[in-house]
């Protein structure tokens, strides 16, 4: 897909207003190896028949487009799994399919998540040629021991090299690090983060290690063989992170995402702002708006079953669900308060038919008074202190 060339007949003019903006998430469910901390829908397979997968995505794109007539796609995100295991042709097929079925915004953001092994870095140019304009690189750590602990297939040097290639190829680049690892203290993280910031990318995703159920880390943690930092140290690490990023000109626009102004990930903002998105691929979730109601879509989770369903019945979807209004409210709060901009009041009224005051009742002023939230009539935001204990704030707010 060539977003800035004339061969795409459906490009809308940037001045077109009130168009239905859409994000598209494409899930690629395969990895070279399963990382011990990862609970994503990712699977290790000997052989992947990319042409069958290409065809299946193409069919799902057509079907997906029928549900949202008049939608304008503002972002596409290839996530996983390891999308950098997709052949260039597969990415191209998906992007061309989307361009053929949807209207594409001229400034569309197209991100691909890549793992930094050399094999995968070699494909960067193909992705760029297919239309990808933003790279999200899973560096995870900048030292070999930590990468080994995280069960990663790449070395720190490979990560640095992949980053350099990525920056040469893509206009926008971000990378991920996992910190608050067992035994990591503030000083060690300062050093690692300083190096990360020195690369000078305009966006970083910095996640504290989470022990997810069903992972090998979870098993080890429950046997006492692995201990993550306690909440005090986690808080200290988090505060240091904000401080260093800030000094480097990157703002925490979301709990774990830091960017220079204007370089935020537009696709992910759609999630946090509770916008509309279509999910493509095994296990992908979507959210669409129907008046004031919210529709949740979901695809079959198992890669093989999804593929068989698409090939056999022409659809990999599970039944849609109308999200109950209270649950939808919880989702909005849960996502929106992660952002530094918070939940915009006007947008909230438009999509829910309720005002912020009506929706949250007495809990809101109480949390404002206690310094966890700010509510100024145009948006509700978590204070820095509130954001650090957002789970508690949400529990109190949504009582």
């Amino acid at each position: 897909m060539q977003t800035h060339s004339a061969n795409s007949s459906q490009v809308v003019s940037p001045t077109a207003s009130a168009a239905r903006e859409l994000a598209i998430y494409v899930h690629w469910p395969f990895c070279l190896a399963k990382c011990p901390y990862c609970d994503f829908n990712s699977h290790v397979r000997e052989r992947i028949e990319q042409d069958r997968w290409r065809a299946a995505y193409a069919r799902e794109i057509k079907r997906g487009a029928e549900g949202v007539p008049g939608g304008v796609v503002t972002s596409i995100f290839f996530g996983g799994g390891t999308p950098s295991l997709m052949e260039g042709a597969t990415v191209a097929t998906v992007l061309d399919g989307i361009a053929a079925s949807f209207t594409i915004a001229p400034d569309i953001e197209i991100t691909l998540e890549a793992n930094p092994t050399s094999v995968e870095a070699a494909r960067f140019r193909d992705y760029r040629a297919a239309g990808v304009n933003r790279l999200s690189l899973g560096m995870q750590a900048l030292d070999d021991a930590a990468l080994k602990f995280l069960g990663r297939e790449h070395s720190a040097d490979q990560a640095r090299a992949a980053l350099a290639t990525g920056r040469a190829v893509f206009p926008r680049v971000s990378f991920d690090l996992i910190y608050a690892r067992p035994g990591q203290d503030v000083a060690a993280w300062r050093r690692e983060l300083a190096e990360a910031l020195a690369f000078g990318t305009e966006h970083l995703s910095l996640y504290q290690l989470t022990i997810e159920e069903g992972t090998r880390f979870h098993e080890r943690a429950s046997q006492g063989a692995l201990t993550v930092p306690d909440d005090d140290l986690q808080a200290d690490l988090y505060e240091v992170t904000g401080e260093l990023c800030n000094a480097a000109g990157l703002q925490a626009y979301e709990v774990s995402n830091y960017a220079r102004a204007g370089s935020e990930c537009r696709h992910n903002l759609t999630y946090w702002r509770s916008g509309e998105w279509i999910g493509l691929g095994p296990g992908a979730h979507g959210r669409l708006q129907d008046g004031h109601a919210r529709i949740a879509t979901r695809a079959i989770r198992s890669p093989e079953q999804w593929l068989a369903a698409v090939e056999g019945f022409g659809s990999g979807a599970e039944p849609d669900e109308r999200v109950d209004p209270e649950a939808a409210l919880r989702e909005r709060a849960l996502m929106g308060l992660r952002l530094s901009e918070g939940i915009a009041a006007a947008e909230f009224v438009r999509t829910t038919g309720r005002t912020i005051d009506e929706a949250f009742g007495n809990a809101l002023p109480a949390l404002v008074e206690d310094g966890f939230l700010v509510w100024d009539g145009s948006a509700v935001r978590a204070t820095p202190r509130g954001r650090l204990v957002l789970n508690r704030v949400l529990a109190a707010l949504l009582d």
């Binding site: 709990v255 919880r330 966890f372 650090l388 949504l398």
Partner: protein
């Protein structure tokens, strides 16, 4: 009045865990009450709590048919009783329905405190007693020593005690023969007017209120209009029957028999354990002796977590009370907890069991407040008031003095642990009243304030004696002491449900220990939490729980929304199990566990 020669009614009494329920299993098997495939270990312990804890809580009655060696057919009514001191009221009721008892003694342990206490109850009830020594399969068993103890400590002839193993079944036939030969047959007159003792009752979802009776005179059968003498109500009998242990309908129940009837009784409050049931048209003039009412010694408040459950709690308490007349309840209100009930129990295990039954059998989520004994307040205006709830304690200047309940404790312990036991009793302000030895074992008697033993004395005693000491107590009366009310403040707000009465002298250390315990029990929250113990206006202890600094999901993208939302819902459910005081969530365990502290 004539003897009913083919019936024998007996209770199995013993110290806790000496094997009563296991012996009942063997007797049921020997008399073919249940088939092998229907048997489970301690089959009469039918409640889940009994099975899980391996203890009997409710006495159970079984009617068995036994053909003796003399060729005669006998009906044996067996009552299996609980051994724990908190349930001794169950024992008394069972004894009143029988003429004899099996006094079961674990031959590897010997006579223990409840062996003694229950043997005395049986003697008082005029029972013929058959001593049976159990667990002779154990290498550590010493039947001769156990016999000697029965004779020395209790004063019963043990020369013809039956030696058995309830586990292997050894000598079970001898037990059956001894029952037939040595226990008296019941007396009664079938032609006289009905006089039946109400032994127990419970609510059955299919049958409604079921009443267990021991018939003294007359006949109970379907269609008879009966009168409950104390309750003053009349009903027509619908069904009569017995437990074999399976429920079996019969035509009638006659003198000497133990069985049940139903009579369309709707009001749980109409059945009083110990009441006399008689023929409505031909009532007996004098009711049967009945039972001594039980006196609750520990009180606590029970409050529904969800205020809307209050009516259901009332109904559930009434049903439980039908089945357990030894606990008491009345409505109360708490500033912190809203509407609930003040409940009285025979001990802390009893309290725990009732609480657990309420949550299991009635699906109620409850908060129990700090348990308390009953104090007597002598007011400056000359009045005397009983204080069941520390929250109700008036200002100190209205109180002239206070008294607290005392008990006489009997402790049996092997000599090597005597020192630690004496120290424990002294630490609890006990006064020794007697000390004697039989063999290598000591029998110690102490006067102790009830308050000092109610909460954790039993656990401590067991732990300092490696489980060998046994303990029994009875209330003796009230004594004056210097007592004060200690308030607990959470973020400067007093929580009435956590206030306790303490000795002025030990108030500070008690306050410190309580604050420390609460600090462990209350999870960290968004705020700093200050926990203070105060006497009057004076703070005697303080702990702080630092604020939770970080609790946020690191990652949350489009695919996570549903899952993370459900996580939030789950967290909210967890919060429901807590009670909010100001902004602080206090888990329900805090209220009771705070008081079950080690020495303080």
């Amino acid at each position: 009045m004539a003897a009913i020669p083919h019936i024998r009614n007996f209770s199995i009494i013993a110290h806790i865990d000496h094997g009563k329920s296991t012996l009942a299993d063997r007797l049921i098997e020997a008399c073919h009450g249940l088939e092998a495939r229907e048997m489970t270990a301690q089959v009469l312990d039918s409640m889940d709590i009994e099975k899980e804890r391996g203890i009997t809580i409710k006495a159970q009655t079984v009617r068995l048919n036994y053909t003796a060696r003399d060729g005669q057919q006998y009906i044996l009514n067996l009552m299996d009783t609980p051994g724990h001191v908190d349930f001794s009221y169950e024992v008394s009721r069972s004894l009143a329905a029988c003429e004899g008892s099996i006094l079961l003694v674990d031959a590897s342990q010997g006579v223990e405190a409840q062996t003694l206490a229950n043997a005395y109850l049986a003697i008082e009830a005029g029972h013929e007693i058959v001593p049976v020594l159990n667990k002779i399969d154990l290498p550590a068993s010493d039947p001769d020593k156990a016999k000697a103890q029965i004779e020395e400590v209790i004063g019963l002839d043990a020369s013809n005690a039956v030696l058995i193993s309830a586990k292997t079944g050894e000598n079970i036939p001898e037990v059956l023969e001894a029952l037939v030969a040595r226990l008296p047959a019941p007396q009664g007159d079938a032609t006289a007017s009905l006089a039946a003792l109400l032994v127990d009752s419970w609510y059955d979802p299919y049958l409604g209120v079921v009443v267990l009776v021991r018939i003294k005179d007359g006949i109970a059968k379907k269609g008879l209009k009966i009168r409950m003498m104390a309750a003053g109500s009349s009903h027509v009998i619908e069904t009569v029957g017995v437990f074999t242990p399976k429920l079996k309908n019969t035509d009638q129940l006659g003198p000497g028999e133990i069985g049940f009837f139903t009579a369309g009784i709707k009001e749980v409050a109409e059945t009083h354990v110990g009441d006399t049931i008689t023929d409505d048209r031909r009532p007996v003039a004098v009711p049967l002796p009945g039972f001594k009412p039980s006196i609750p010694v520990v009180f606590c408040g029970l409050f529904p977590i969800d205020a809307a459950d209050f009516p259901r709690l009332r109904e559930s308490l009434a049903r439980l009370r039908l089945n357990d007349s030894s606990f008491h309840f009345e409505a109360e209100t708490s500033a912190a907890l809203g509407f609930g009930f003040r409940c009285g129990f025979l001990g802390l295990l009893h309290l725990e069991i009732i609480q657990e039954r309420l949550s299991r059998e009635f699906d109620l989520e409850l908060i129990a407040t700090a348990p308390s004994v009953v104090y007597r307040l002598f007011m400056t205006n000359g009045e005397m008031k009983e204080l069941h709830n520390p929250a109700d304690m008036p200002e100190e200047n209205y109180i002239e003095h206070m008294e607290e309940p005392w008990i006489r404790a009997t402790i049996m312990v092997p000599d090597q642990y005597l020192g630690s036991v004496l120290k424990l009793c002294e630490d609890r302000r006990g006064e020794q009243t007697n000390l004697s030895h039989t063999g290598a074992r000591a029998v110690v008697e102490y006067a102790l304030p009830l308050n000092e033993v109610v909460f954790d004395f039993y656990d401590r005693l067991k732990s300092i004696s490696s489980g060998y000491a046994s303990f029994d107590y009875e209330l003796t009366g009230y004594k004056e002491n210097d007592l004060v009310k200690m308030n607990i403040l959470i973020n400067a707000e007093p929580v009435d449900a956590l206030s306790t009465i303490v000795y002025r002298k030990t108030a500070e250390s008690r306050g410190r220990a309580l604050c420390e315990r609460l600090k462990e029990l209350i999870p960290r929250q968004m705020f700093i939490i200050a926990i203070q113990a105060a006497i009057g206006g004076r703070i005697v202890a303080r702990e702080t729980i630092s604020a939770m600094r970080k609790d946020v999901l690191a990652k949350c993208y489009g695919g996570d929304v549903s899952r993370k939302r459900k996580l939030l819902d789950k967290q909210k459910k967890g919060k429901k199990k807590m009670r909010q005081f100001g902004k602080v969530d206090i888990p329900q365990e805090a209220f009771i566990a705070a008081l079950k502290m080690g020495d303080s």
